[in-house]
Symmetry: C2
Subunit: 261 residues, 2 copies
Amino acid sequence: MELTIASWNVNSIRARLSHVLTWLDDRKPDVLLLQETKVENGLFPREPFEERGMHVLASGQKALNGVAVVSRHHPELLGETLSSGFLADQRRVLRVRIMGITLMDVYVPNGGDTSGERFADKLRFLEELAREAGLSSQERYMLMAGDFNVAPGEDDVTDAKVMDGRLCFHPEERTRFESILRTGLTDLFRAFNPDGKAYSWWDYREGSFRRNAGMRLDHILVSPALAAAARSCTIDREPRSWDRPSDHAPVSAVFELPAME
Amino acid sequence: MELTIASWNVNSIRARLSHVLTWLDDRKPDVLLLQETKVENGLFPREPFEERGMHVLASGQKALNGVAVVSRHHPELLGETLSSGFLADQRRVLRVRIMGITLMDVYVPNGGDTSGERFADKLRFLEELAREAGLSSQERYMLMAGDFNVAPGEDDVTDAKVMDGRLCFHPEERTRFESILRTGLTDLFRAFNPDGKAYSWWDYREGSFRRNAGMRLDHILVSPALAAAARSCTIDREPRSWDRPSDHAPVSAVFELPAME
DNA sequence: GCGCACTGCG
DNA sequence: CGCAGTGCGC
């Protein structure tokens, strides 16, 4: 059976609802992992998704952060925090099981600037993700996706020399992202696109999208069995061109899996 | 020659620009008096009006109040305050001369509630308008229009008994509105519609427009010679039904005048 | 209920 | 630049 799993930092699900529904109706992913929903669970707009036959699991808070899983198949909730409990007061993680796949929806802290406590928290959060991936390494089908706020490679920014040391392309961040991959996960977009610059985020300011001055911050990382089952991984720039868009574009992967319960 | 003069409290010209342009293109008034433009002069969107061959005179401030005159013919600026200077720090008055007609665009203070200093200011402002009308009583063609924040008669509210004493239908306000008319001005809408309930404002809350629970707060008052020249005076409820409307509807009057310089 | 201002965040 | 939040005016 074919399964499409997508990830999208929507920068407010309420502000972006029409975009998300339009995209959902067009692309029809089986699972959509959302980040920066920026809404408490009680105010999450569940109905339009449920009308489309999708389940919704939301873990949100006021104004900041917030993640959610929209899924055609029933999702089993595994947890709403890192298993260490780090930054548990911020809604940045949703762990679910869908159709025998363990999924982790993550929104890594932006970090503020490369000095200071919030950057330290970001690095620690990335370390925790590596640990988390290690804990799940016995799982056959494991997927960790979301907004990592790290551009891992030189082709994930416009100019590596200029960007070197800057937020989201700092060696300390890239090293920690590498550690996540070293647990055995595959950066699926890069696996399908081994070279060539590609971005998933463009700043709202300075006409960044028009100039295609972006970064690849949104990733789908998968276990070896899922990597083998993957048929494609793409970034859909179209919604970024719509009126009042999210600053992030959705990333999607298609898998061909043996039929599961 | 025929001349159409309209008045509209737009509740932010920037938020309502598309509505105002759509209405302008459809109804093509010669003069449009705006209230609650809520924008400083430098940020007033002049271009779309000028592209349509209209002149713009704006007298605005940040966030609150603000009046403007949009006119097919060149307007001569007479003043931006009451001649007494009362409440001169608030942009609520624009006095202009267009085609030999003296026009006064007014936005009367809402008053807050019927106790307190702001209500006293509202009453005083209405008294000043009567004085102002008296000062202009020698003018052959004089028009005073805008948002008076007073429903003068029992047919200008849904239920006079229920509304009696409430803001915008308080005896003290209605008396002062009467004083304005007693200088010789005619309430043109009432002249053409001597009976029957009609409103120009509906609260955004509680589905007031759907229930037609409104008040007639926006008026076109004219000197005897203009009253004699008037051919119609109407309230256009249509824009109030549009998406994200102003809470006020435009009021228009058509005059048949001898050709003037 | 719907504007505006301001501030924090990214 | 564009989301939130809060406070205020109408």
